[in-house]
């Protein structure tokens, strides 16, 4: 059976050609940021060395080439996420920027006192705070969809909280703490029935399984490049064109106007209306290259690899005495973002111990403090998997966990 060649993939990523704390690097912090393949770096470098110029401005040859590359990346993104029209793809600086754009533009224009905004308790702060503060400004109400004891979105709770007062439902596609994949299609159907629009935070989804925004019928979809093998500082907001057309610009300046006089201005068409100032051109080209890289690997194999590895990791971790896994305990309906705690060891202490073995994990609240509170903890350790991780990485994690446990228990 066809399998992802992880050994070969690892060689695509120069970061692995070094020791960390004198140990072989085991990178398990992919939910924070993934590593970048040489192929993507080279595309960015080629652009800077051969075609660098500003976009949509110059009449010169380089300007044209830069613009063509930038726009062809936009088309690649559109194809990659199933957008019907490349004009529905706005380049931003990242997922956070994309979500703020929707709240500041669509939200500011459409939310009124007494309206309701619905989010889930598992949101990353970047898909919570823009809505929380918008609701405060507008005297609207912010409601939360709870999760059940398996770490899944509580659909009954969702149904009970959505009403004709609900104007926006903002939900993460995949939880950056629990790994849970949320049923977006089901949600959009429910929301649209009530006349609400749906904003999806796809930061943890894109790159792990295929996304089809048209099929999901979401109104907005946000994600970052750096979690899917692209450079930092580039992200995307997908929005349905009829909605984008009606929204006011979010930032003002160059590149986003049709005409300016002393007294006023008219705005450019979408997506340019939302891309004020010189964009992250090299970043957009890097994102296009990251999509090429991902597509060269075959999504089916990626999914199969990550699911098998998740399953393996969950089994191994469950066998560590005193270890609690937060979120779905089986590998279906989730991705390889695994949060856990070891009894009596603070996540920070554990992460330091793992780090000394070259194993990079995240410890903290993962920008999801309301979720932490609902899980009755302050913080967790999180190991998150990607295409270059192997069973050997998991074995090293587990053996390092055992040793850390022993070390800290000596003092009890």
């Amino acid at each position: 059976m066809a399998k992802l060649n992880t050994e070969k993939i690892k060689q695509d990523f120069p970061i692995f050609n070094q020791k960390i704390n004198d140990e072989t690097l085991v990178y398990l912090d992919n939910a924070a940021t993934s590593q970048i393949p040489k192929f993507v770096e080279e595309k960015v470098r080629d652009f800077n060395e051969k075609e660098r110029a500003n976009v949509h401005r110059g009449v010169h040859a380089l300007g044209l080439r830069a613009t063509n590359q930038y726009e062809s990346s936009r088309q690649k993104v559109a194809n990659f996420i199933g957008a019907n029209n490349a004009k529905e793809v706005i380049f931003t600086s990242g997922c956070t920027d994309s979500l703020n754009l929707v709240a500041a533009s669509f939200g500011e224009q459409n939310i009124q006192a007494g309206d309701e905004i619905l989010v889930s308790i598992m949101e990353h702060h970047s898909n919570l705070l823009p809505w929380q503060q918008l609701a405060k400004r507008k005297q609207a109400k912010l409601n939360f969809i709870e999760i059940n004891s398996d770490g899944l979105l509580d659909i009954e709770n969702l149904k009970s909280k959505i009403s004709s007062k609900t104007k926006i439902v903002a939900l993460t596609h995949v939880s950056n703490v629990l790994g849970t994949i949320n049923p977006i299609k089901e949600l959009t159907d429910l929301a649209h029935e009530k006349g609400a629009i749906v904003v999806v935070d796809g930061a943890q989804a894109v790159g792990h399984f295929p996304i089809d925004v048209a099929e999901l019928n979401v109104d907005f979809y946000a994600f970052s490049g750096h979690k899917m093998f692209a450079p930092t500082g580039i992200g995307v907001l997908y929005g349905k064109k009829d909605l984008l057309d009606k929204m006011p610009p979010y930032r003002l300046g160059g590149e986003m106007i049709a005409n300016v006089t002393r007294e006023g201005a008219t705005w450019a068409e979408v997506p340019y209306k939302f891309e004020a100032g010189t964009p992250n051109i090299a970043g957009a080209i890097g994102l296009g290259a990251a999509i090429d890289y991902l597509q060269s690997l075959d999504f089916e194999l990626i999914q199969k690899h990550e699911q098998e590895l998740t399953s393996y990791a969950l089994e191994k971790l469950k066998n560590v005495l005193g270890l609690t896994i937060y979120g779905p305990q089986k590998s279906n309906g989730r991705i390889g973002v695994i949060s856990f705690n070891l009894k009596n060891i603070h996540p920070h202490d554990l992460a330091t111990a793992l780090d000394l073995d070259g194993i990079e994990v995240r410890a903290g609240h993962h920008c999801a403090q309301p979720l932490m509170a609902s899980l009755n903890t302050e913080s967790t350790v999180r190991a998150s998997l990607s295409i270059y991780n192997t069973k050997d990485d998991i074995d090293k994690l587990v053996s390092s966990l055992h040793e850390a446990k022993e070390f800290f228990s000596e003092f009890r």
Binding site: H348, D357, G364, F408, F411
Partner: protein, 152 residues
């Protein structure tokens, strides 16, 4: 595992303070209070202090924290108890210099007592905030910033 490296950070005295923190709890009778957070991990330290005649008569801490932040809070409270406000603030300055890897003369450093062992924290930059959290709280409480303002 690099147990040696782990031991160089988690010295016995640190683990001891974290296991059996001194001055743990909350004063019922206090004149100064503050809560500080480590925004990167959500840890928090709540300090209550009773000041009489310009001296720290009593001090207690509670909250959530890792080994380093708990040990540091335990050591800090032990050290400043009985000191004048001025002395306490000087100690705090000394400690932040230590954490920031600035030179201080060794004689002065000795004033930090047990807390000197946290000097190794400098090799673990990601953990410096854990060690300085309690001291930061002390500064805030003594300098009169009593509560974290909520921005809403």
């Amino acid at each position: 595992m690099s147990l040696d490296k782990l031991r160089s950070l988690y010295k016995a005295v640190i683990l001891d303070h974290a296991q059996m923190p001194r001055n743990y709890g909350q004063l019922t009778d206090f004149s100064h209070e503050t809560t500080v957070y480590n925004p990167s991990c959500g840890d928090k330290i709540h300090l209550t202090i009773l000041i009489e005649n310009n001296k720290i008569k009593k001090i207690a801490f509670n909250g959530e924290g890792c080994t380093i932040s708990k040990a540091s809070a335990s050591m800090m409270t032990d050290l400043v108890k009985g000191k004048s406000i001025k002395e306490a603030i000087e100690l705090s300055q000394l400690f932040s210099n230590l954490a920031a890897n600035k030179k201080s003369d060794t004689l002065k450093l000795e004033q930090l007592g047990d807390a000197q062992v946290l000097v190794n924290i400098m090799q673990f930059p990601a953990r410096i905030k854990c060690a300085t959290l309690a001291w930061w709280g002390l500064d805030r409480a003594l300098l009169g910033k009593e509560k974290e303002e909520e921005n809403d």
